[in-house]
Symmetry: D3
């Protein structure tokens, strides 16, 4: 059974599709959250964007007596339960403790996620079948390629619990946003606000960038002073 | 309520008091377990030995909206629940993801553990009030001193679950052994065997060391060839 | 000429002599400052305490054409200018970028600091003549011993400027506090408040620790509930 | 003179051209070898595959009195002896201790390897002329680009000896396999078995992937249960 | 006001456009400078080349009381002063202490640099709006993408001072050269010599590479013996 | 059979007993050698001094098929051959690649070295039976304690070859000097010169330190100007 999360604003997820991780990070910084971006995770498909609710999977270190191929083949093994439990639009976030010596998963499991309609997968570790997963059409973020199977370094122990991912706390139900830059986590209770303000900031930055490209000086333009703000309001209205 | 673990041999814990972490590690290596020692954790009281069943506490990364002093003061907060739930002879093992920028706990909580009869505490991170804890008489292992309170880096999220500690998997109920060298985890189902064989190996190494100190060459002595083994058997009988 | 800093409360420095770096860190955390402790720096003399105003020295990486023994012998070389410019009660804080392959300074310069009445020296790097400096009676904090002279890795380029030390921003005039745990930096404008509140917290923690050692449970005692607070007030009065 | 290695099965090298490093790693894991993949080494030409016998070259750290341009120009200098000694189909594996501050070699030496028919080159360090080597048509794996010449960090001291490469033991004559994911080393005595079993596993995974892409659930499909195995056998026969 | 630097030879900057960072590094090594390449910095636009005089910007670690959006919006804030102060042909080099958890700057500031005619930007840290900056047509070098705004990790404190960048000392006015391999710093007083000798070495290596590609053995060819040198002189003359 | 090395000056080794690693490092720096100190290695017995000729032992990474207890028990296994081959006054230097997850050796082998008259042992990795080895009376330097036996991470593959130790090149026959600060390697051909000049520098620094402790200012005193040099000559004569 999959968890139900408190409701989001009806447009929040859709709005976040138009907000970059840079803008999301600025909005979170303004709300007092400084470490929600996941450094070191790179997009396997940098042109795709990702927005979705977090489901979590926790790996602990492998141990030779427990991380056996027999053990990981059981149907209730958390790795496969987490994969099969994904619902349309969700993002599977995997805590691998930053360990890159073995993969968290590979092409077969990523293909299953795609078929199930997952919004993406975020791995604080490595992925195997890297070149194939790059072409899969699913937004996947990981540290690096690694060929060894996961029980060489990992044992799945839990799902749908709070985890760390690249030293960012991810609670099940948080909103995960990814683009060509990387991944950021938005605490669920802040998602409506971040989406709304982020969309406005994107528009302002479009205006600012146009001015800069036309030769405007940074002071006065970014951040905008009163004159620039008025100019922006006019530009904005004209645009609609 | 605290968990009940499958029974150990009646002498196992007592025997392990006489087996070094070096010998335990060799025994585990012979059983195919290569990574049960926790590198980087140092004893605050190097002359104390520690043997006990593992209880576990899991920290995830802190987040400004959740890791507040109000939140961590709630009675059911896993950190305080884990401390208060310790039973005589148990070792509290804390997963701090190796993060050293804030402490997992300090003198007050370590004192409470001692009063409760804990066998020790193992922290994959830092401890505060370091000089005071060094003198407490409780075996504590950690990476380093760190003054900041735990919500500067950590949020306690779980207890009595499998955790990683210095990239070693620790299952609740595993047997934790510590000495002046560091800490090693023995999977519970192997503890009887490791204790028995470890004790024998300690005796053999005492004999070998005497011979080496008397000028014996390494080849033939360590590991012992047939002649040395016979000599050892004689020495062993004479000793009893 | 040495800088003059805005005035502190008349008792602030004296009060801070009785406040641990753990308590200072908690007070700063409550004021919204999460990263003022300097992880990785260890006391060469763990029993000494240190309180003083920061003077700063900035090293950049060495370069074979500039970091020569000739260049570093000039009287205006920032390293020696910073050493000679120290006034009684000040702490010299040295930005070595965390580099440990060569020393920032050694026994001769530390001896000069002591003669000049420096309160201590904090080095985000290494120190040479380590065993001698340990016995000098000056609070010195560094990452590790390193025998090579500083131009093997460093070139002093600036003094009395903002620096990073163990990824903590130190402004000249900030208050630096050290004990057996390590070093914490207090922004000058917060020092009075931290000293006052810190002293009160030390007293409360003394009371709490007594209770814990007498067998009190953590919940209700730490942090104190209303009953414990009343008890504390009584204890406090009785003590005076 | 180049070494002669014990014979391989006649099809082993050819078979391994169709086995991914992920599959090789799984086969080695099943044989009890957990650390044969080289984390951190990336392909300069990700679309090329590499299979060949290992020849080894060992670098030690540079020292100003020995790592001079004069010394490294001598014909018997191990770096150039190793390059010139390569035979068709071999892979040169270079132990750079993971050091990335200078290159192990550059375009000229990689071009020579290509002319000599080398199967590839694996460097536990950096390469210079990175953009040119990317286009060379030779499978090269390294940690990163680095412009400085090798004596800035390395001194070649030995060839055709056991080395570590990305913390993997490589014995001369081992079989090195590379693809877009990275590099794995197969102990020579296991190569026939890994090639045979690996090829079969590739076929099974092709079948499994087709099923997953057609919507099959993970449990029962991967790893395959009895029903899936029967289905696979039918699919396999039909395919031939 | 921008600094004036001692004059370079009239052709130096132009010549350096044809000299790779590999060749520059070799020339510097021959002059006794071993660490002028900046390991870990990668080109966002690997096909562009960069040559220019260094201007510097120094970031210190952020602190919650100082690194506020208000503070960084002041016109004299060193970050914006450094951006606006750039003159045609200069390279802005930014000391971020290697920290990758927040960006040094993003698309807007990089666009302003481009409009101002900057030769490029070198960041010992991260950049945001990474995908957009990759397409900007400005040579930019950084460690990684990072979405968070700079005050999440940095506070700009100084400009036009000596800095460390990837543990390389950069003095204002030094010559910075970049290509698809990375970035190297040439001390200004050596730039004429490095440009002249570098250009000659490029020509020699072109000749050597042709010979190697035609099947020449490494010994005698590279480095060239007397016969090869004569042959080279003939080739060189014929070419003109 | 043990190697014979070119002769040293008759007093060199004796003189070096009175020269600190700090002074040795300065002398080597003056001769153009910047990286001969081994950062990260700490003395197990900080009050002992060590001077002796280097013998070397090289470990490569362990592999499950080769690093077995059977294999390492063979009399010609390089680890035991290196231990037994030590001659009076030599220092065994062990290349462990900086790996700390298993020990290079323990009390039994260190005891054998002591009985054989070794001057000491330097390990670029870990040691087991750490507390016992601390009390052995043999100068031993290592990174940390680690309980696991060496085949958990290492396979001895060579002895009496050039090795890297803490990224310092050690040639067999080099002179290894250790004190409470750490370990430095002197290229054999420079040892006479370093010993002679080092002894003189020690005397000068004793004089300088006395002056500094008596209140002398750094400029003029250290490094000494002409007046101080004259004073020193007088002091020196008076002392004899």
């Amino acid at each position: 059974m999959t968890p139900a999360y408190p409701a989001l604003g009806p447009q929040t997820l859709e709005q976040l599709r138009y907000v970059s991780t840079a803008t999301v990070s600025t909005q979170l910084f303004k709300l007092g959250l400084r470490n929600m971006f996941m450094p070191g995770l790179r997009p396997l498909a940098p042109t795709l964007r990702m927005v979705g609710e977090a489901r979590t999977l926790r790996y602990a270190p492998a141990r030779e007596d427990l991380a056996t191929f027999e053990a990981i083949s059981r149907p209730d093994y958390p790795q496969r339960a987490a994969i099969e439990g994904i619902r349309r639009g969700q993002v599977l976030v995997v805590d691998c403790r930053g360990v890159e010596s073995a993969a968290a998963a590979g092409e077969i499991y990523m293909s299953r996620l795609k078929i199930l309609g997952a919004a993406g997968c975020v791995i604080d570790g490595s992925i195997r079948d890297f070149p194939a997963v790059q072409k899969l059409g699913l937004p996947v973020y990981a540290r690096s390629p690694a060929a060894p199977p996961h029980p060489a370094a990992h044992l799945a122990v839990d799902m749908d619990v709070p985890i760390g991912c690249a030293e960012v706390l991810v609670m099940p139900g948080d909103i995960i946003v990814g683009d060509g830059e990387g991944v950021v986590c938005i605490p669920r209770h802040l998602a409506d606000q971040v989406a709304q303000n982020g969309l406005e900031m994107e528009e302002l930055e479009t205006f600012v960038l146009e001015k800069i490209q036309a030769g405007a000086r940074v002071p006065g333009t970014y951040p905008p002073d009163e004159a620039t703000k008025l100019e922006y309001e006019a530009w904005r209205k004209a645009r609609r």
